[in-house]
């Protein structure tokens, strides 16, 4: 992927704003921010420690051409999609989507932080739900627990044991799904072809060689 990173870095020289505008979903809104800060104050993760850059600061960094700092940042990945910033922004910036867009782009470029848990979740979820057209919750949960390797997975699994058991008892977690079973769409094949086409078209539109 990092060749794509190179490719883009060259294409946009030192105009990171332009790069974001053309490559990231909703990126063309970044320039409209007036730095009021209402998004930063609205973010639910704002009052938890360890959150580097709020949206309005990310936007300023993009304008200031801080490409590496932005693409490598953890911040976009913290978005809970609560849409508080989105509805309060006085400039009507679709901030939630912009943050997703920047994160997605960073990932495409291979710049996202290694083992970023939310990124891992995103991959796991999408792959899981597109495999059969519907989510297989057991497999999803497993893939999440075991992302950091077997031991960590077992630890995590133990930690989550009560949660899982609770769900099982309540018939809301069907272990049978683990074994082949589970919900699926009839036309899985069509779905896969459809998505392949979609990925191809998107890459074309954004001038990226299909990965």
């Amino acid at each position: 992927m990092s060749d794509l990173n190179q490719q883009m870095a060259v294409r946009y020289k030192n105009n990171f704003l332009k790069e974001i505008e053309e490559q990231a979903e909703m990126g063309n809104w970044v320039k409209m921010c007036m730095q009021c800060g209402v998004c930063s104050g609205s973010c639910p993760t704002n009052f938890h420690p360890g959150w580097e850059h709020p949206p309005q600061e990310i936007f300023m960094m993009i304008r200031a051409g801080k490409r590496d700092e932005v693409l490598n940042s953890q911040s976009m990945w913290m978005c809970t999609s609560c849409y508080n910033c989105y509805v309060r922004c006085p400039r009507k910036l679709p901030i939630t989507h912009i943050m997703h867009g920047i994160a997605e782009y960073a990932y495409r470029l291979g710049r996202a932080p290694k083992m970023q848990p939310t990124l891992h979740l995103s991959k796991a979820f999408w792959n899981n739900c597109t495999k059969n057209g519907r989510v297989n919750e057991v497999k999803l949960t497993q893939s999440l627990y075991f992302k950091d390797g077997l031991m960590a997975g077992i630890k995590m699994g133990l930690a989550m044991k009560d949660v899982a058991l609770g769900l099982v008892k309540a018939k809301r977690l069907n272990i049978m799904e683990a074994l082949g079973g589970g919900h699926k769409c009839k036309d899985v094949n069509g779905i896969h072809k459809m998505l392949a086409k979609a990925r191809e078209l998107e890459a074309k539109r954004k001038g990226r060689q299909p990965a």
Binding site: E25, P44, T45, H48, W77, M78, T80, S81, C82, Y83, N84, Y86, V87, T96, H100, G101, E104, Y107, P117, T118, H120, L121, S122, K123, F125, W126, C129, G133, R134, V135, E137, L144, A159, D162, V163, G166, L167, K169, A170, K171, R172, L173, N174, M176, E177, H183, C185, K186, D187, G190, I191, K193, M194, L195, K197, A198, R199, L201, E202, R205
Partner: protein, 298 residues
């Protein structure tokens, strides 16, 4: 002939044996009482949810929703789509809005759909079940079938994010929506005021950033307790799961003694309409709502 018919989009979590199966159960009972006919969209697929943004990218996400639109149009012509899951509803509405306002996206989508032998003519309206209840029927209609008002029961209506923002329920404020409280009162319960009504439960980050998410969940439950709530009520499967299932972990981490049942509005309504605990899917709650179960059995 039912008085209302909808193309039903249950979503992945509201399937048999899935994490919101009890939601589905109660919704079906509720709709039966209200004479609402919901027909599942044949072979519907996952909406992708917000969280898939990174892996999915833009177009594939819309295409997934577009497929559901196409199927609904094809098999259930003229019917509006109703979703029970906040994420499904939001995902679908976002795709509808984006596709209708972006001809390039629409063209690409059609091209991709062709691969699955589908196409879109006009995207149907997409509603959340709550909209069907309060907009298409109205509180008065909802009150009529009430057989057993949920007297002296105190609920904290937890609206959360995605049924509230960015679209929300028409005429409600983002900061203090009252439709859930009104629903609670419609079925005879008491809605306690509390200030975490629209606080985010962490959403999908409950998986990836459990510490942050659980800190937020703690605030929500604490505030519900502080204001005298006995149960929490929500319209969103993810909110329901997050607020319910992590209470044990939160108790461990913070030394709290949370044991707060978290229900769906549809479960309340089913009981108030005289349904059994089973019909309301109360057995599907990890933290059992004993008081409500006893009430139901009376």
């Amino acid at each position: 002939m039912a008085r209302k018919e909808y193309a039903f989009y249950p979503g992945c979590s509201s399937q048999k044996g899935a994490s919101a199966s009890n939601y589905l159960t109660s919704v079906e009972s509720m709709c039966k009482t209200l004479d609402i006919k919901i027909t599942e969209i044949p072979d519907w697929n996952c909406c992708g949810a917000s969280i898939s943004y990174a892996e999915a990218g833009e177009l594939p996400r819309h295409v997934m929703n577009a497929r559901n639109f196409a199927l609904a149009e094809q098999h259930l012509p003229g019917q509006e789509i109703v979703a029970t899951c906040a994420a499904c509803w939001l995902g679908a509405r976002e795709s509808k809005e984006r596709l209708e306002h972006n001809s390039v996206l629409m063209a690409d989508t059609q091209e991709a759909l062709k691969e699955a032998g589908l196409s879109i003519k006009a995207i149907p309206e997409i509603k959340h079940m709550v909209e069907v209840l309060i907009e298409d029927l109205g509180y008065e209609e909802l009150a009529k079938p009430v057989k057993k008002p949920l007297a002296d029961m105190k609920f904290a209506g937890y609206v959360g994010c995605q049924t509230n923002r960015p679209f929300g329920i028409h005429g409600e404020s983002f900061e203090n929506p009252v439709y859930l409280d009104k629903l609670i009162e419609t079925v005879g319960g008491e809605a306690v005021p509390y200030d975490q009504k629209v606080t985010c439960c962490g959403g999908a980050l409950a998986f990836s950033e459990p510490d942050k998410a659980q800190a937020q969940i703690k605030d929500i439950i604490e505030s519900a307790y502080d204001n005298g709530a006995e149960m929490i009520v929500t319209p969103c499967p993810l909110c329901q799961a997050n607020v319910e299932v992590y209470q044990g972990q939160i108790n461990k981490k913070y030394g709290t003694k949370f044991n707060m049942p978290v229900l769906y509005y549809s479960q309340l309504m089913t009981i108030a309409y005289g349904g059994t605990a089973k019909e309301a899917g109360l057995d599907g709650n990890v933290i059992r709502a004993r008081k409500l179960e006893e009430f139901a059995s009376k």
